[in-house]
Amino acid sequence: MTTSEDFERWGGAAAWASGEELTPMQTLMWRAERHPVQSSTSTVVIDLDRAPDWKRFVAATEWGTGLVRRLRQRVVEPVVPTAAPRWADDPTFDLGYHLRREHVASREEMLAQAAQIALRPFDRTRPLWEGVLFEGLAGEGGAGAAYVLKIHHALADPLGTVQLLSMLQSGRRAHTARKPVGAEVGAPAVVDPVDLAVSGLRAGSANLAASALSTARTLVSTRPSTAVAATLRYGASVRRLVSQAAPPSPELSPRTGRMWSFLTLEAPLDRLRAVAKQGGGTLDDAAVALVLGGLRRYHERRGGPVPEIPVGVRVSLDRADDLGNRFAGAIISGPLAIEDPVDRVAAVRGEVLSLHTERALEVLEAAAPLLNRMPAFVGAGALQTAAVPDAFVLTLPGPPRRRYMAGAEVQGMYVLGPLPGAALTVCLVTVGDTACIGVNVDASAVADLRELEECLAEGVEEMASAP
């Protein structure tokens, strides 16, 4: 790892997320947020091989927030929601408010505290992140540490968070003296909520008139029967997407969404990829199959086997095998009765690809601009109408090699996502040759947390030892 590679990556970080307005989807999530039940907060837990020097750590964070302006910006809402909220520099930014350190005795204690940090709501008038360095973990040498970063979805989605962290970390343990800094900005941009609302209203009414006109034109030029048929097909697709997944499992209820419990697991990435390949699927499919393998065991031991459960997955709207830029969330029926891991991967693959026949897959994305003009509770209602899965499973690409934070080696990077109605949210991050699996569990929905953790660990083992 050379310093020049680091510089290139840091240059990328400086250019990261520079738009002034929140995108329609971010706006929807910002306005619909009801923390923690309908939360948009993700938490990243980074295992470090040693406690970094605190001064150096603070200085590095200071540098990072200077490089990535977004980390010093807050969201400004118009007084009435006629325009999208905007990012503006926070004139009162104080690193001390966002970053602190604490002492814990064990990794379990750290994870429990991380869940409590995640459950506390953000101050929505400040930059939307909070970092805590935990020292004193009983690591291999007894000197291990962990950095917990809580970040709002409007600032970065889980994928963006992992990318950002990968970009900011260093390729070397030693200090890099003359690091690039962000472009000098002038006076903090002051955005007035009333001006924002007025200009939004002006632009919005012009846009709405234009879009109404073009809609009318389209309707006039289309035969009514064609329009009716297309609408019916679209409606049928929406109905399939929200209703046809499996019924929720009775073993994973009742969910309150107010008791978060964090678990972490790790798996050898090459084995996961090998099983995925055998089943004709991707790493995402293997991650879903792994979680289902663990949940299958849990259901069997609890004496309530079910054939399938609804699982929330992310589908690329571009090409199935590419990462692409546009994603939609959708629910599949996750096969819970298949014992063979390879066959389970193939079944998951089939379910995920089948979503591509649904013309309504883009419905949430398409609906976002319209919903944003409604008061917040309407948007929240729209998000709730979609059926809620038992588990969300997400795969995120992390750094290809081990990286360093202020001289401490990153040994694992776990993303603990929010629980928007699900009993589990599972994020698999690829870090070097390891799959770091972070699981957020709704503790009110799971009768035996230890049993679940064991079952998930066996699910990992089953994948790792598949022939």
């Binding site: 697709s237 004709g280 199935a320 096969p335 066959d343 089939g350 690809l353 089948s354 013309r359």
Partner: protein
């Protein structure tokens, strides 16, 4: 080669797909899975069955209403498999045997004619390279089995109905093989039969077929439903659009029926002429001409012959041809026109399709199980040849399942040596594509015929070498069809 398309009636896309199949891995570890409705056949076989139920007034108004409501709901995003379960439960108490018979009857009268010709060509391509071919469908075996048999497909992966004491209980054994269940059915079949899915092929048309198609390494969306078409574009899967049977199913079935009727009419007319004129031999010749040219004209089969004159320069002779189709006999009969007969195995005497012809051309039947009687029959044949009757013979013995040329048996050439007559080699191409072995369906098109240089002076000394040389000439002609 140019002209292939016109001759074979297959589109360039299908020909390219067939080339790719033939260039890929071969053998039974490669699977080829075909959906039934909308893929192998145009339209829905279930609709044919239901139409028959309606006609027979087996359906109460309540059942009809429930069916329609369920079908509409399935279209509007409800559970699309419920319609089938409604149909299955309405079958409770019906006899399985009667239903299987109905399947056979509907196949002959309606469904056979809806088999897509290009789908058949794809099935045959997979069979040629030895793949394990299966029909994978949510339909029941009563709908599928006759189609599979016609295509020479042995394996079915399909929805099973529970039968007790010969009657349907109205329930299914296991899930209906629709959507994800079809996919898992195919994966289970692959495990049982040692099939490597990553090199296997699947063909389907419905939006519910994505999971099924994604189970294999080579999926193809065939005449896809609107939503499958967009999914295929997104997933980068090839799309093949096949032409439906010309003028719809009824016409194709009608052609086949007309061809059979035409053959009988020709025989009867010809024999009547012979009886009336008092000349049985001329009557036979007239019957051959009518019996062979009428059906081919009715079915839209044309014959394109290279070197037709060679059929007449060396009579009497032994005409040897390669054999792929039941169509070969009327085609050759049509070419030879008069004064010939065939040698057939004894069992063929009772084959209804051959019986009509056998009355006319008085074949020499050989009992293969009894070599003494076989030799005696052949001695009689030598006398008939010397008396001026030519002999038509397929030296491969049986029809080949594929256009690949089988080894030649020596019998025909021994006869040429014994009778002292020349051998006229006739190479046939495409007849297997127009009417497949053991198929009931005759497709319109053109059969290519090339008559090779007649070979004279056969004797026992160098028989094997000359047969081998002739076999090579057949292969070369099939591989590089001469232009003149």
């Amino acid at each position: 080669m140019p002209g292939d398309q016109a001759v074979s009636g297959l589109s360039d896309e299908v020909l390219a797909a067939i080339d790719a199949i033939e260039a890929g891995p071969q053998g039974p570890a490669v699977g080829a899975f075909f959906d039934l409705d909308g893929t192998l056949v145009a339209g829905y076989t279930a609709a044919t069955f239901y139409g028959d139920r309606l006609k027979g007034r087996d359906v109460s108004p309540a059942e009809f209403l429930r069916t329609v409501v369920t079908a509409v709901d399935g279209e509007l995003g409800g559970d699309p498999t419920r319609i089938a379960h409604v149909a299955f439960s309405a079958m409770r108490g019906e006899s399985e045997e009667a239903f299987a018979d109905l399947g056979e009857r509907l196949f002959r009268s309606k469904i056979a004619g809806t088999i897509r010709r290009e789908s058949r060509a794809l099935v045959m391509a997979h069979q040629r390279v030895g793949h394990t071919v299966a029909v994978a469908s949510a339909a029941t075996k009563y709908q599928i089995a006759p189609v599979a048999r016609d295509l020479g497909v042995e394996h079915l992966v399909c929805t099973q109905l529970v039968v007790e004491d010969g009657q349907f209980t109205g329930a299914t054994d296991g899930p209906m093989l629709w959507g994800r269940h079809k996919a898992s059915g195919v994966r289970a079949f692959a495990r049982e039969h040692g099939i490597d899915l990553s090199t296997s092929y699947a063909y389907g048309n419905g939006y519910e077929d994505v999971a099924f198609l994604s189970s294999v390494g080579h999926p193809t969306a065939l005449n896809p439903h609107r939503d499958l078409r967009s999914a295929a574009a997104r997933l980068g899967w090839p799309v093949l659009d096949l032409s439906d049977p010309v003028g719809g199913s009824l016409l194709a079935a009608g052609r086949t029926a007309a061809a059979l009727a035409g053959m009988n009419t020709g025989v009867v007319a010809g024999l009547s002429y012979g009886l009336l004129s008092g000349n049985l031999k001329e009557g036979r010749n007239a019957a051959i001409k009518l019996a062979t040219s009428l059906p081919m004209a009715l079915a839209g089969v044309k014959v394109d012959v290279l070197h037709r004159e060679r059929l007449w320069t060396h009579r009497p002779a032994i005409f040897v041809a390669n054999h792929q189709s039941a169509l070969d006999i009327p085609v050759l009969g049509n070419l030879l026109e008069r004064d010939f007969t065939i040698v057939a195995k004894k069992e063929a005497k009772w084959d209804p399709r051959a019986m009509v012809g056998s009355v006319v051309i008085d074949p020499a039947y050989i009992d293969r199980s009894d070599s003494a009687s076989a030799r005696a029959t052949l001695d009689g044949v030598v006398d008939r040849i010397r008396g001026g009757t030519s002999l038509m013979i397929f030296p491969e013995g049986t029809r080949s399942a594929t256009p690949v040329l089988g080894p030649f048996r020596k019998g025909a050439f021994h006869l040429a040596a014994q009778a002292g007559v020349p051998v006229v080699p006739v190479v046939l191409r495409n007849s297997g594509e127009l009417m497949r072995r053991s198929s009931l369906v005759l497709n319109p098109g053109t059969v290519d015929v090339c008559v090779l240089e007649p070979e004279t002076d056969w004797n026992e000394d160098d028989l094997s070498d000359r047969i081998a040389a002739l076999h090579t000439k057949f292969e070369e002609t099939l591989a590089r069809w001469p232009s003149t």
